[in-house]
């Protein structure tokens, strides 16, 4: 029926009066058509999620396993090859190694990742031969102080890991427990380190 009306209107469309009414007709029809589409969504289920208040599943199950979240280091499995620090395009990973003069053993004394600089590209994870450095599913780490976003993974100096021949035996916990412990509260002030030589307070931002 609509097409018949349209044909009738088109036939006389050269007259300005008919053009005027045709315009009004087309406008009303197209608005009603749009309204009909919108109306149909009134009776469908909403696709929005009331994050974080009403979640059907927890966020860990929603995110895919490849998700590139905040980095963490499983330090006992780090072989201290410095490959991650070298591949990082913006140098947000800082690793310090110290050699004991007597026993000639190497120790990892610093493994800092500056999350405020990290762009979550995943190139460090790709280069890691043991999988010690990996992404977690944590994506929120806001802090009042930018210094809090430097995650320091070394508490006490550790020996580098010696890689066995079969790598499948190593169990990896990628749930993000380590990084979660390192992330500080939003308002907690940064811990200053005192440089004894200069007598200044400074924070360990990776530069």
């Amino acid at each position: 029926m609509v097409s018949a009306m349209e044909n009738a209107v088109n036939a006389k469309s050269h007259l300005p009066v008919f053009q005027y009414f045709k315009n009004i007709y087309l406008l009303v029809v197209s608005i009603l058509e749009g309204m009909a589409v919108t109306m149909s969504y009134l009776f469908r289920r909403p696709i929005t999620i009331q994050y974080p208040y009403k979640m059907e599943e927890s966020i860990d199950t929603v995110l895919p396993p490849q998700f590139r979240g905040i980095l963490e280091v499983d330090l006992p499995y780090c072989i201290a090859c410095l490959r991650c620090a070298n591949t990082c395009p913006i140098d947000c990973i800082a690793i310090d190694l110290e050699k004991n003069a007597e026993t000639k053993e190497r120790f990892i004394t610093r493994f800092d990742i500056d999350i405020s600089k990290c762009m979550f590209c995943g190139l460090c994870v790709e280069g890691c031969s043991t999988g010690a450095i990996h992404h977690t599913k944590i994506f929120s780490g806001t802090s009042h102080y930018i210094e809090n976003l430097v995650l320091e993974f070394v508490d006490t100096p550790v020996r580098p890991f010696k890689k066995p021949k079969s790598m499948e035996d190593i169990p990896f916990d990628k749930s993000g427990k380590i990084a979660k412990n390192k992330l500080k509260d939003f308002f907690s002030p940064p811990e200053f380190v005192i440089d004894h030589r200069k007598g200044e307070k400074y924070t360990r931002r990776v530069r």
Binding site: N23, L27, P64, Q66, T87, C88, P89, F120, G122, L123
Partner: protein, 388 residues
């Protein structure tokens, strides 16, 4: 006192206009204007509603990506290429990867090429969703944009599953792709396409055939085929003027020669050829073509390696190459000069949005200010891609 002002005003009114430019004034549109798609500035010379000139003023989003390339190794530069065009990061990834592969003589496995095509075409749909939706948004149609954002969210989820990120994918690597496609993902993509194709028709009812929307775009800012070529337009903007240039067809790079698809052209769907509506329609039709390509690619996905073996510290012999691909915004080219070290000597990125900016000044003469918004929206300008 009030009398004197009145007299002056009266005189001004009575004075005959010797030239049409007498009342003109210069206005700044942007950089914080909602319809300039990022930080862009237009110096608009107007006389009332009608513009005499609109000169784009670019450079607000310049981040020096080309200079950064000279300090970053080839393997570590891929994340920066994501930032060239954040709405279609896959294409920048691929253009750079292709340039380095060609210079270093690396052969990409066929499976990787297919995975690249799938990722790129998904990305093309996502980019066109923003382009067509934001065009409606600029002209006052808010609802269709939200519908398109909803569909794009599904693509983002697929991308997240494919490469771990939603916007800055960093999926391509020199010699292949970052990871093989997860086992359940091809079915998910097909399910999304089954859901998406009817939605396009619904969207046509909502916006494309809406008479107000058509009148705002049809016969507005017509770019003739000659102008389009002379100003170096690329991609959907060029095809909107009826010129059939699609690098996927012409160059047949990656795995594109294996697929059967059409190149939609603007032919004056509701007005003259090369108007804003044609450019809009070309993008709408291209989305359906992309769906076709993805279906074929998933069906014929070959088995094998997803990544060729590349040295960890890649050194490229002294040479130069210009690789170009068909991005969502037209030709994206990477001109790479290597000098034998592990870092590029010079990298030049050519983007589609930048060339599209050049024609704004010519086409905008005699347009209304409100139509400038339609013109910018139909050219699909993304500010970071203009400045890089």
């Amino acid at each position: 006192m009030s009398n004197s002002i009145k007299k002056e005003d009266d005189l001004k009114h009575l004075k005959p206009l010797t030239s049409p430019f007498e009342e003109e004034m210069m206005l700044n549109m942007g950089p914080q204007h909602p319809s300039t798609h990022g930080v862009l500035n237009f110096l608009v010379v107007t006389d009332g509603e009608v513009m005499h000139q609109a000169r784009p003023n670019i450079g607000y989003l310049h981040r020096g990506i080309e200079k950064l390339a000279e300090m970053t190794p080839y393997t570590g530069f891929m994340p920066y290429m994501d930032r060239v065009d954040y709405l279609a990061a896959m294409f920048a990834n691929q253009a750079f990867a292709m340039a380095v592969e060609r210079l270093a003589g690396i052969e990409v496995p066929e499976r990787a090429e297919y995975l690249r095509v799938i990722a790129c075409e998904l990305n093309r749909i996502a980019s066109h969703l923003i382009a067509t939706g934001a065009l409606g948004l600029d002209l006052g149609a808010i609802t269709p944009f939200l519908h398109w954002i909803r569909e794009r969210e599904f693509i983002n989820d697929l991308m997240e599953e494919l490469c771990g990120a939603r916007l800055t994918y960093n999926y391509m690597r020199i010699g292949g792709v970052y990871a093989d496609i997860p086992s359940g993902l091809p079915d998910k993509i097909l399910r999304f396409l089954d859901h998406f194709e009817p939605i396009v028709d619904e969207y046509n009812r909502l916006l494309t055939n809406n008479e107000i929307f058509v009148r705002r775009l049809a016969d507005v800012a017509v770019i003739t085929p000659i102008d389009a070529v002379n100003f170096g337009l690329v991609g959907p903007n060029l095809r909107g003027s009826g010129i059939e240039i699609d690098l996927r067809k012409i160059l047949g790079y990656s795995a594109y020669p294996n697929f059967d698809f059409e190149v939609p052209l603007g032919k004056g769907f509701r007005g003259t050829q090369g108007d804003c509506y044609d450019r809009y329609m070309v993008r709408m039709l291209e989305m359906k073509e992309s769906c076709k390509i993805i279906r074929q690619a998933i069906e014929n996905l070959p088995a094998g390696e997803h990544r060729a073996k590349v040295k960890r510290k890649l050194k490229v012999k002294e040479n130069e190459f210009y690789s170009r691909i068909e991005s969502a915004r037209g030709e994206m080219g990477v001109y790479l000069i290597s000098d034998g070290t592990d870092k590029p000597y010079r990298l030049k990125i050519k983007t589609g949005s930048f060339t599209a900016m050049s024609i704004v000044e010519k086409i905008s003469q005699g347009l209304m200010i409100a139509d400038l918004v339609a013109l910018i929206g139909s050219l699909d300008i993304v500010a970071p891609e203009v400045d890089r």
